[in-house]
């Protein structure tokens, strides 16, 4: 199988490549339009800031290349967010493939609590830290991408921004609010969490993607 990883200024390209190698899959990291269009599967990674990531894509003309892809495409973390319509991070117009808004986790009301999300739950510790760092569970799984993945499986997250829950949601996660842990529209799939760092669950999801 011919797997291409979109080459731009994303931070986790190497980790995605290693994860695929562990699964026995060879992948090519490329920014070449023909190589991306002719691949069987395309992985669109991302770590960093949405605005500069979009700038990087536009400079190389990769924005229109990605939009034109017909094979299964998997956006990871910021890669997923860039598939969406608009991100509050840097007030960024994204690729607009999945018509969903990307928002920031709400900060607590008190200014000195910036960086916390206030959650009215009546319990003692009623704030969550932003960004969300660590392992959380996914549920309401509704896609072949999550074949053999039990609801409630843990996946690894690092993010301050999230895609809103919508008709395009194929997995949900709770972090003070319910958001889309994964989205899909046509051949475009996106996961907010890091499949490449999510232990056996992440490996299975990557395997499922390669089998789409």
């Amino acid at each position: 199988m011919n797997i291409a990883i979109v080459q731009y200024n994303a931070g986790n390209i190497q980790s995605v490549l290693y994860a695929l190698e562990r699964l026995g899959a060879d992948a090519k990291v490329t920014a070449n339009a023909d190589e991306l269009r002719s691949a069987d599967k395309v992985i669109f990674p991302g770590v960093g800031e949405a605005g500069s990531a979009m700038d990087s894509l536009r400079e190389g003309g990769l924005d229109s290349v990605i939009k034109s892809l017909k094979q299964p495409v998997l956006g990871i973390c910021v890669g997923m967010q860039l598939l969406c319509a608009h991100s509050e991070e840097g007030n960024t117009e994204c690729l607009g493939i999945v018509p969903v808004a990307v928002r920031r986790f709400p900060a607590a009301l008190n200014s000195h609590d910036e960086g916390f999300m206030q959650v009215a739950n009546g319990a003692g510790n009623s704030v969550l830290k932003v960004p969300q760092v660590g392992w959380n569970t996914i549920q309401d799984l509704s896609s072949p991408l999550f074949q053999h993945i039990p609801s409630g499986s843990f996946i690894y997250n690092v993010h301050s921004f999230y895609a809103e829950d919508s008709d395009y949601t194929i997995a949900r996660c709770n972090y003070g609010l319910t958001y889309a842990a994964a989205v899909q529209k046509d051949n475009f799939y996106g996961v907010q969490f890091h499949t490449e760092k999510s232990a056996a669950t992440g490996d299975q999801i990557l395997k499922n993607f390669l089998a789409l």
Binding site: R22, G115, N125, P131, V133, N136, F154, S198
Partner: protein, 262 residues
Amino acid sequence: MPTGNPQSISNLAKRIIPCLDIKDGRTVKGTNFVELRDAGDPVELAARYAVEGADELVFLDITATVEKRKTLAELVKRIAHRINIPFTVGGGIRSVEDVSVLLGSGADKVSINTAAFQNPELISGIAKAAGSQCVVLAIDTRLEEDGQWYVYLNGGRTKTDALCFEWAKKAVELGAGEILLTSMNHDGTKAGFALDITQQLSDALPIPVIASGGGGTKEHFVDVFQSAHADAALAASIFHFKEIAIPDLKQHLKEAGIPVRI
């Protein structure tokens, strides 16, 4: 009763993080993993911990000198190829260039300590170049007779006049993504974590706090999550010498109502 993250608002798990000290590419403290082909190989040990359910790993290169850095980068590549959970690398990092090499080799985060204290712009520099999420600021701190927690440098050999809480706050402003807090009073005692300073930082700072030093029993981990609201707990020898097995520890935490990944 506060339990950190109540199930109703989030299932974000408390993290258990084994720490491996590395010297010349080998683990130094020794282990009881007799079943491993080569327990001195950090990659073998790391893979074992990943399978056992460690949520993350930290590798501290205690002899990181300039000439050894290439060795470390090679090791990081081998680790990144093998394990499928996040890991942090620390020891001897003095510049953004050092960080680029390690992240480029596959590390997810870097841990900085003395160099960041001496040159705080290192924190903002790394955060700008690679994002706050990869900046783990390690603080070695000691409670003195005046009742204050002070920052120590150079592996605990050099006392400073800086207060731990003030330095941690400044580091957050500069762009640190997590704090790895080691109490020198508790490290190696197996008498429990430093609950007061851990709670002070964890409750006041908007970034995760990893508690380190003193974990000796499963109940100590319950305490550091439940009473001190730590986001993660780090330990070394109790895992290496199998005094506590990670699956048992996680089961114990789960039964205590603490969200963990099992």
